[in-house]
């Protein structure tokens, strides 16, 4: 036997209570793991946005288009290296529920604005030269079981064709592999020219213009320059960094970070009270035994360390179960989740934060009973006075 066995024996003395406690901790950390992973997904756009990349949209909001001619006017400004249009297509495959993050763009310019996208030469050539070609992110291709050379019908929930249909035929020419940028791996890109010649409205317009600057230091002045250039026109603009744009985009859904913080905090506060209260009761039940241990020569600090070890073990075990289950659930559903929220997965940082919170939970819930154990007088514990 050793001190560790004594700790585990004490944890297991009331099995139902221990199981209920573990379930409570499990739920808290399941929520923590899952919600933090979703938050990570929502923030993926901000995290992967290059510092020198800016986005211009209509000043009213990004659903109101801008003239496509703005692309060239922006590109011609000093300090701007590349610029491309990006028109939201509102595409879906087979079922409107199978939503695609699809844009019409100028392929050549797009690859210049996103230089980290490196396509195999034959795929790149095929896409650039095929007006009906699409480049598809790896996540989308995997989800829909698409492969190079496939002919894919994609419908739009926004646009219609001159013949009244909502369906376009595409050739899958390229697959985007960029593991560090899950957003890029979740997009479908079509030629703007094909878009422009087939849609019944919104021709010669774009939803947004994405461009790069020679240096992030120029961002502030270029933002002002661009917006000043189109001020007092029918299509005034609002320019921001890509990171800020993504953040504002996510904020339209709601303050995700605040929601996550509130849900997790509430769960943790409830668990803290439950576990703390139960630990206090569990130790109070063992007052006499603690008195006996002290009589045998176990010092106050040793008793306190054992009590803290009990609460830590419970917290860490429950947290490991919760985080592990969240990880498994996210991994199992990642294919579907990433199509909706690119980048949703449990990172090492989330896992480490979860375990950190488990240690805090263990320390806080064990603190009061450990202190009681430390201060407990043997004579009082044995009920001798």
């Amino acid at each position: 036997m050793n001190h560790a066995l004594l700790v585990t024996k004490n944890i297991g003395r009331r099995k139902l209570r221990t199981v209920l406690l573990l379930i409570a901790i499990f739920i808290a950390f399941l929520l923590f793991g899952a919600l933090e992973s979703f938050l990570q997904g929502f923030n993926a756009g901000q995290n992967s946005a290059a510092a020198d990349r800016l986005v211009t949209v209509n000043k009213i909001n990004f659903t109101v288009p801008l003239p496509i001619s703005y692309v060239d006017r922006i590109r011609d400004l000093p300090g701007i290296t590349h610029a491309t249009s990006q028109s939201f297509f509102g595409g879906f495959y087979q079922d409107p529920k199978n939503f695609l993050l699809m844009f019409a763009t100028d392929p050549q310019a797009y690859l210049q604005v996103y230089p980290k996208i490196v396509l195999p030469p034959e795929q790149r050539t095929a896409w650039l030269n095929d007006r009906r070609g699409i480049a598809v992110g790896r996540i989308v291709a995997n989800k829909n079981h698409w492969k190079i050379g496939d002919h894919i019908p994609i419908s739009s929930s926004i646009f219609s064709r001159a013949d009244g249909s909502h369906s376009w035929d595409f050739n899958l020419d390229a697959i985007i592999n960029l593991p560090e940028d899950s957003q890029r791996e979740s997009v479908v890109l079509m030629h703007h020219k094909y878009f422009d010649e087939t849609v019944t409205f919104a021709r010669d317009t774009t939803s947004m213009i994405v461009f790069t600057t020679a240096s992030p230091k120029l961002n502030d002045s270029i933002e002002k320059q661009v917006d000043a250039m189109f001020a007092n026109s029918p299509y005034e603009t609002s320019t921001d960094t890509a990171a800020a744009f993504n953040k504002a985009f996510v904020a339209q859904v709601g303050n995700i970070a605040l929601i996550v913080t509130l849900v997790v905090s509430t769960a943790f506060a409830a668990i803290l009270l439950i576990v703390g209260n139960t630990m206090v009761m569990a130790i109070r039940e063992r007052t006499r035994e603690i008195g006996v241990l002290k009589t045998l020569g176990f010092s106050g600090p040793v008793i306190s360390a054992q009590i803290l070890a009990e609460s830590m073990l419970l917290a860490l075990f429950g947290a490991a179960l919760g985080l592990g289950t969240a990880w498994l659930a996210l991994a199992a559903t990642r294919r579907y989740l990433e199509a909706l929220i690119p980048g949703v997965h449990m990172t090492g940082a989330i896992l480490a934060a979860g375990l950190g919170w488990a240690i805090v939970l263990g320390l806080v819930t064990g603190a009061v009973p450990a202190w009681s154990g430390l201060r407990l007088r043997i004579v009082s514990a044995l009920g001798r006075r």
């Binding site: 036997m1 050793n2 004594l6 003395r13 241990l293 020569g297 010092s299 040793v302 044995l382 001798r384």
Partner: protein, 230 residues
């Protein structure tokens, strides 16, 4: 080194309860030689358990000196007292006070967790202690699976496993039938006689007192009678 296990010099113990000060004993002197077997008797509230607590270092005196082998123990702090108890004193309680989640062997092993003995040596010591109390074959049994007498014998094994010089017993037969009580008292006598333990027993049981070498009667905080048995 002194020939005395314990020496009490003008020891007083008082409690303040509200506005009232209750004196348990006052200016008590007591010598308990090494290897003595002493029974302390007296009516309820006479202070005999408090005296045992003071001897075991689990209660503080109000004034006076408590010496063990010539060294003062009443001035030790909590940590020093813990170490002193672990090294020198074994406790036996009326209600055994075994850990219900541990087997007999694990209960006996508890005091050895505070020593530097390895697990193999600890198991050897535990087996020896359980054999001495006649429970070598019950080492894997939990307290709930044993009778009161067997539990008390496990408690005795726990008290002696680290080879302390003194055994302090608080009503060790108080919860046992006569036959079982006699078996327990025989073990205590054996430990005193053949293993040189100083045994101090607080009891209401005249039979328990008969096994002791001498009996001290404590009443209202003073020894009113000292009987030396043959």
């Amino acid at each position: 080194m002194s020939d005395f296990s314990f020496q009490l010099r003008k020891v007083s113990k008082r409690f303040v309860k509200g506005k009232e000060t209750i004196t348990i004993f006052d200016n008590l002197d007591l010598d308990i030689p090494a290897q003595d077997y002493v029974a302390i008797m007296g009516p309820s509230g006479s202070g005999k358990t408090t005296l045992l607590n003071v001897l075991g270092g689990i209660d503080q005196v109000t004034s006076g000196e408590v010496l063990f082998n010539g060294q003062r123990v009443d001035t030790l702090n909590e940590g020093q007292l813990s170490r002193w108890r672990a090294a020198n004193v074994g406790f036996i309680f009326q209600f055994y006070n075994l850990m219900p989640v541990l087997t007999a062997a694990q209960n006996v092993e508890l005091p050895l967790l505070l020593t530097k003995l390895g697990s193999k040596d600890r198991r050897r010591h535990v087996a020896t202690a359980l054999d001495l109390v006649g429970l070598g074959d019950r080492s894997k049994h939990y307290p709930r699976e044993m009778s009161g007498g067997q539990q008390q014998r496990v408690a005795i094994a726990r008290a002696i496993v680290s080879d302390p010089k003194v055994l302090l017993c608080d009503e060790p037969t108080g919860d046992l039938d006569r036959t079982t009580a006699d078996e327990v008292l025989e073990i205590l006598a054996l430990l005193n006689r053949e293993h040189s333990k100083t045994v101090i027993v607080v009891t209401h049981d005249p039979e328990a007192a008969n096994h002791a070498k001498r009996t001290l009667h404590l009443n209202k905080g003073i020894f009113v009678e000292r009987t030396k048995l043959a």
